[in-house]
């Protein structure tokens, strides 16, 4: 569904490429996770998807079509992206905000159609924020707001969903419920691309992990293969061990103290 091939991105004035030959595939009905340290190029990939940053070389295909052939609107109908930051300049109700997800489908002079209303209602239900529909956006908690943003993206009726650091600032419960939602959406057929810092959670929910380091792919594959102590230690430049989580059976990273405490 979303496929980067040998993608290279250079920011003007930067000595090294921010993304340097990354290939990754995010297929339908799977959760594909991009992980890596700060500055490893994760968010740059999202910026390329958004069209905010051009590729210096390599390609990006959406459903087999070159990204450059797609208008911004056409992209928004195919891929719903939840960027890291997004905040209405002026508060509105949750219902009104989620309805903005219909913008890629709406005409300049057209009123909301029954189809739009259905899509918004489905998105509100799917993300479990039905009961918030008349609440102002500036009165939501961090966890509610993230779910409402995902609802906005789902209202776009796209077949792929990109979440850029969706659980920053969320507590364990809200974090888990958001990951569960992402996994459920993938099970229902969506291609889900998850950009995250949460290695251990990602290892439990992702079908494929792509580990970036300095703009290159350091490891990619099933979580069991990517979650190797040796690789992660060198990528994060910190001593750590990978254990098997006794409760879930998934690989889990335990960073170590440098000196005995």
């Amino acid at each position: 569904m979303i496929e980067f091939r040998d993608a290279v991105v250079r920011y003007p004035g930067a000595p090294a490429a921010a993304v340097d030959g990354v290939s990754l595939l995010c297929p339908a009905a799977q959760v594909t996770a991009v992980v890596g340290p700060n500055g490893s190029g994760k968010s740059t990939l999202v910026r390329v998807l958004l069209g905010r940053q051009p590729l210096a070389s390599g390609t990006l295909h959406i459903d087999g079509t070159d990204r450059r052939q797609l208008s911004q609107r056409a992209l928004a109908r195919m891929v719903a992206i939840v960027p890291q930051r997004e905040e209405p300049a002026f508060p509105m109700t949750v219902r009104e905000y989620v309805a903005l997800g219909r913008l890629p489908h709406s005409g300049a002079w057209r009123a909301e159609t029954p189809g739009d209303r259905d899509a918004v209602a489905r998105a509100l239900t799917r993300t479990g924020v039905d009961d918030l529909h008349s609440r102002p956006t500036d009165e939501l908690s961090g966890g509610e707001w993230q779910r409402v943003r995902v609802a906005r993206a789902l209202a776009q009726d796209a077949r792929a969903l990109v979440l850029d650091e969706p659980t920053t600032f969320l507590d364990v419960g809200h974090e888990m419920s958001l990951f569960e939602l992402a996994a459920a959406l993938a099970r229902s057929g969506m291609a889900v691309l998850l950009v995250s810092h949460q290695l251990n959670l990602v290892a439990r929910f992702a079908d494929t992990m792509v580990l970036l380091q300095h703009g290159r792919v350091a490891a990619a594959g099933a979580p069991d293969a990517v979650m190797s102590g040796r690789v992660l230690e060198s990528v994060y430049e910190w001593p750590l061990v990978v254990i098997r989580d006794p409760a879930s059976g998934a690989p889990a990273v335990v960073p170590l103290r440098r000196s005995p405490a």
């Binding site: 958004l50 069209g51 911004q72 992206i81 913008l103 008349s134």
Partner: protein
């Protein structure tokens, strides 16, 4: 949070027409409703026909268009710049217009049309300089909204300096006349001025309403707007320029009328309208009403003197705005 009700729209339009009728009725010669209708139809007393058709009619129309334009311009800029303090003159419209008018006076030009054209050209030049400067400084064609605001402030400062230099080198009355002209008055209104402004508003204001979905998305931030299918680098500068064009046309027609473009969008949002297509249309109706009312007050408050229109809008609007402040969330 208030939800707007369907009766708000007909009520707002009814108030607009009522205030317009009052604007035609009130003045040095006070007309009754029948005299207003007779004057409009051309069947009444010839004096009343002249007052309605040649004097107050065009004046009320011009005030309405100015209010509508400023309110739409302010609502658009507040949305795109994501800033509740944004107003129509922000990107250099006022300073540029003042420089244009002062230069025209200094060059010995006079006459309403020439001054209007000079002010308009000054505005457009200043806005162009602001947008280009922000673009050169920022990332991408949109630039950072904060960079743009800063560029607007700096271009405004430059315009002030230019006016002061002109002040130092020109005969005092030239500059005074130019600045007086800028203070805002609809007293020279003609049907031709109204038609010119109406045409500009129909084109540029219509384009703003047609692009209102882009403003909805841009008000969430650039990345979210891009995610919702907006070509940010094209849409944002287009809205800056259209909104400033509308503002410049109002300045060319009547000079500076502060406050309307700042406050009316907040009033309309507080009434529960948040999507920009409806917001722009509602702001136009409310802005028109407000400026007709202010212009009527400017004519009748201290006869025979006329008060500067911009001062009246602020004097009437500020107390109301402060009283309602807790209802506005920017």
């Amino acid at each position: 949070m208030i939800a707007h009700r369907s009766w708000h729209w007909p009520a707002a339009i009814a108030v607009l027409f009522a205030v317009a009728a009052l604007g035609i009725a009130f003045g040095t010669v006070r007309l009754g409703l029948r005299e207003v209708i007779g004057g409009a139809a051309g069947t009444g007393d010839p004096l009343h026909v002249t007052i309605v058709q040649a004097l107050r009619g065009p004046r009320v129309l011009l005030a309405a268009l100015v209010g509508a334009g400023l309110a739409m311009s302010g609502a658009s800029l507040q949305g795109v710049l994501r800033n509740g303090l944004a107003e129509p003159y922000l990107l250099g419209v006022s300073g540029g217009a003042a420089v244009g008018a002062v230069l025209a006076y200094a060059a010995g030009l006079s006459g309403y049309a020439l001054l209007a054209l000079a002010a308009f050209a000054g505005s457009v030049t200043a806005v162009g300089a602001t947008v280009l400067a922000a673009r050169a400084a920022g990332h991408g064609a949109r630039g950072d909204p904060r960079t743009l605001l800063m560029a607007g402030v700096v271009v405004g400062a430059f315009a002030n300096a230019a006016i002061m230099i002109a002040l130092a080198n020109a005969p005092g009355n030239t500059v005074r006349s130019a600045l007086w002209w800028m203070m805002g008055s609809a007293s020279d209104a003609t049907w031709a001025t109204g038609a010119a402004l109406a045409a500009t508003l129909a084109v540029a204001g219509g384009a703003l309403v047609a692009g209102a979905r882009d403003i909805d998305a841009l008000a969430l931030g650039d990345e979210a707007a891009a995610a919702l299918g907006v070509d940010v680098d094209r849409a944002a500068p287009r809205i800056y320029l259209l909104a400033s064009l509308v503002a410049a046309a109002t300045v060319a027609a009547v000079g500076l009328v502060g406050f309307v473009g700042l406050i009316v969008p907040h009033l309309v949002r507080a009434a529960g309208i948040r999507r920009h297509r409806a917001l722009l249309v509602a702001a136009a109706i409310v802005g028109a009403t407000l400026v007709i009312a202010a212009d009527t007050v400017a004519r009748v408050a201290l006869p025979p003197a006329e008060l500067p229109l911009g001062a009246v809008t602020a004097i009437l609007g500020v107390p109301f705005f402060l009283a309602q402040l807790r209802r506005f969330r920017a």
